[in-house]
């Protein structure tokens, strides 16, 4: 199979590319960022997904499947730019898929789109609406992109579209949202709160995305690994120190005193859990994580 990966220079995407090449697929990559030591079997195009050269890749290479991982987060980019890349980019890519006869599209999204609130249940299922945008405006563009990708299921039924809502991951690359939150020695917790956090090993996450491509999934799927653990355990098992901060002061200390920067609304994600139910994905793919939460966190600690 000829598989196009957008955002291929990203943490997880590189791993997915390796795995697909290893299993005998041809991989084409698009990213604004370079991938200097691109491995054999991967054809790299340095381009912006919203620009002409990206469409040219679709036209000339005619991929069989698209793995869309070119989304950005609030850590790197301004609001307008995020909307342009996450929502505008996703729309363009699905249009190209339709136009150039790509049979399969996998959108890799995040489990945080469900949003963290005190009155939402644990173990969100795929039929629950993603509500994060209401309370966390920095996630609204990703929620919109997730829903747009899902709408491809009825908009272009000839494309097998899979929307993956992936939980946090940790791994040797030290990339990803949770790794960023744990990047400093001191981790800001909200006093009196200790939500469950669901995390999986980076390699398991790569494997799950690879499986989604190979099994030609269709629909929306939550993807997670081992059962969740409390944030305080995540902090101590990764060798960090959790500093409890009273809720009202929380946004003041972020980005100061050696704490990582987070947008103000992110406080909800440090107070309340987002836990997803992965029954549908496991049934469709027989996915089984290789690493337990303990192995993942301790691996991250000593790596």
């Amino acid at each position: 199979m000829k598989i196009l990966i957008t955002g291929i220079s990203g943490t997880l995407a590189r791993g997915v590319a390796y795995r697909l090449v290893q299993r005998g697929h041809k991989v084409i990559g698009i990213d604004r960022r370079p991938w200097p030591d691109v491995p054999e079997g991967v054809e790299m195009h340095q381009a912006d997904i919203r620009k002409r050269p990206a469409e040219d890749v679709f036209r000339t290479a005619r991929p069989d499947a698209l793995v869309h991982m070119a989304t950005v987060t609030h850590f790197t980019t301004s609001t307008e730019e995020r909307y342009r890349i996450n929502l505008g980019g996703t729309r363009k890519l699905f249009e190209y898929c339709h136009e150039y006869g790509v049979g399969q599209a996998v959108f890799v999204g995040r489990h945080t789109v469900y949003g963290a609130t005190p009155d939402s249940p644990l173990y969100h299922t795929e039929d629950e609406p993603p509500l994060a945008g209401a309370a966390f405006k920095e996630l609204a563009d990703l929620v919109a992109a997730d829903l747009y990708a899902g709408s491809a299921l009825w908009r272009w039924p000839e494309i097998d579209t899979a929307v993956l809502r992936l939980c946090y991951f940790l791994g040797p690359s030290r990339g990803g949202t949770l790794a960023g939150f744990l990047s400093k020695n001191r981790v800001p917790m909200v006093m009196g709160f200790d939500p469950l956090y669901q995390l999986m090993h980076e390699w398991d996450a790569e494997e799950a995305i690879t499986l989604a491509v190979e099994k030609q999934l269709r629909g929306v799927f939550n993807v997670a690994g081992p059962p969740p653990v409390p944030l305080s355990t995540v902090v101590s098992a990764t060798g960090k120190r959790g500093i409890p901060i009273p809720g009202p002061l929380y946004s003041t200390v972020l980005g100061r005193f050696g704490f990582p920067y987070l947008p103000n609304d992110a406080i909800a994600h440090v107070k309340y859990p987002i836990v997803i139910d992965t029954k549908a994905f496991v049934e469709a793919t027989d996915f089984e994580p290789r690493y337990s939460a303990k192995q993942t966190m301790e691996g991250f600690r000593w790596n």
Binding site: D119, P121, L122, Y123, G192, F193, L196, P227, V229
Partner: protein, 282 residues
């Protein structure tokens, strides 16, 4: 292990039919350590302060899902705490009762963490379903806050039941175990409620009892479990069928309550009632 850990609690928590991970947490955030910490003092209260006697423990299954439906008795949660403790201290088949917590508790700091560690999730229907599907023992008080805020003059009268628990039991195919708690209304007789304070605290009610503090009197209490009841259906039945089922549960709870009230020599009883297996004069 700490000095204050109760031995029976520790042994029985280890025997619970629940899967814990490397750090002693289950998939809902329940913590083994927190269970031992919290139930150890509870066990002391259970044995020596409220001197609880439990009847019908043979109806509690060793494992598998079930829904315990109990009356509210006394407004400060001593009833719930003692029912949970009776299940942990049951050496034949120790079980963890998991309750559904008030919304206002789950959004307050510390309380939400403490409740989560002890296995009491926010009172959402989804949570009840997830717990029962995971073969847990869920405890509900279908009278809700209305029942907890019962005044002393209305003691042991069941108020209107919600219907959610019955639909939950039908949907998950869980048996219902009726349960009656006796003594809570004497241990904490609610004379009246301070309405403005409740509004200020954003809580359901603030009761006032003769002891003037939020602590029960050392009245001996009893817990009665009835035989499990199973109902036909999948939870989508019309209201009149559900109401009919609920009336059956209500009836057996009322029977348990009157048995319990009749068994007491007097309502303000301060000595422990003889248990079902103990010999000797009452």
């Amino acid at each position: 292990m700490s000095l204050f850990d109760d031995k029976q609690v520790r042994l029985n928590v280890d025997r619970l039919p629940i899967e814990f991970d490397d750090y002693g947490f289950d998939r809902f955030g329940l913590s083994k350590k927190a269970l031992i910490r919290a139930y150890s003092p509870m066990a002391y209260f259970y044995r020596h302060y409220l001197k609880v006697t439990a009847f019908g423990m043979e109806f509690i299954p060793q494992e598998g899902r079930a829904l315990i439906v109990a009356n509210h008795s006394g407004g400060i949660g001593a009833d719930a705490a003692m029912i949970f403790t009776s299940l942990i201290l049951n050496d034949e088949a120790p079980r963890l009762g998991q309750g559904m917590a008030e919304y206002f508790l789950t959004r307050s700091p510390f309380a939400s963490v403490a409740l989560g560690r002890l296995g009491h999730l926010t009172g959402l229907p989804e949570h009840g379903e997830q717990l029962l599907d995971d073969e847990r023992l869920v405890i509900v008080f279908p009278e809700g806050a209305r029942g907890a805020g019962k005044l002393y003059k209305d003691r042991y009268k069941l108020v209107r039941f919600g219907t959610g628990f019955m639909r939950l039991a039908l949907k998950t195919g869980s048996p219902i175990i009726p349960c009656a708690f006796i003594g809570g209304e004497e241990a904490f007789p609610q004379l009246f409620h301070i309405k403005w304070l409740a509004k200020l605290l954003n809580g359901p009610f603030v009761p006032v009892a003769p002891q003037l503090i939020f602590f029960p009197l050392p009245v001996a209490c009893q817990v009665y479990y009835g035989s499990p009841m199973s109902f036909e259906g999948d939870g989508s039945e019309p209201d009149h069928i559900i109401e009919e089922y609920i009336d059956q549960v209500r009836d057996s709870m009322e029977r348990l309550i009157s048995t319990g009230l009749d068994a007491r020599p007097r309502s303000f009883m301060f000595e422990k009632m003889r248990g079902p297996e103990e010999d000797g004069p009452p």
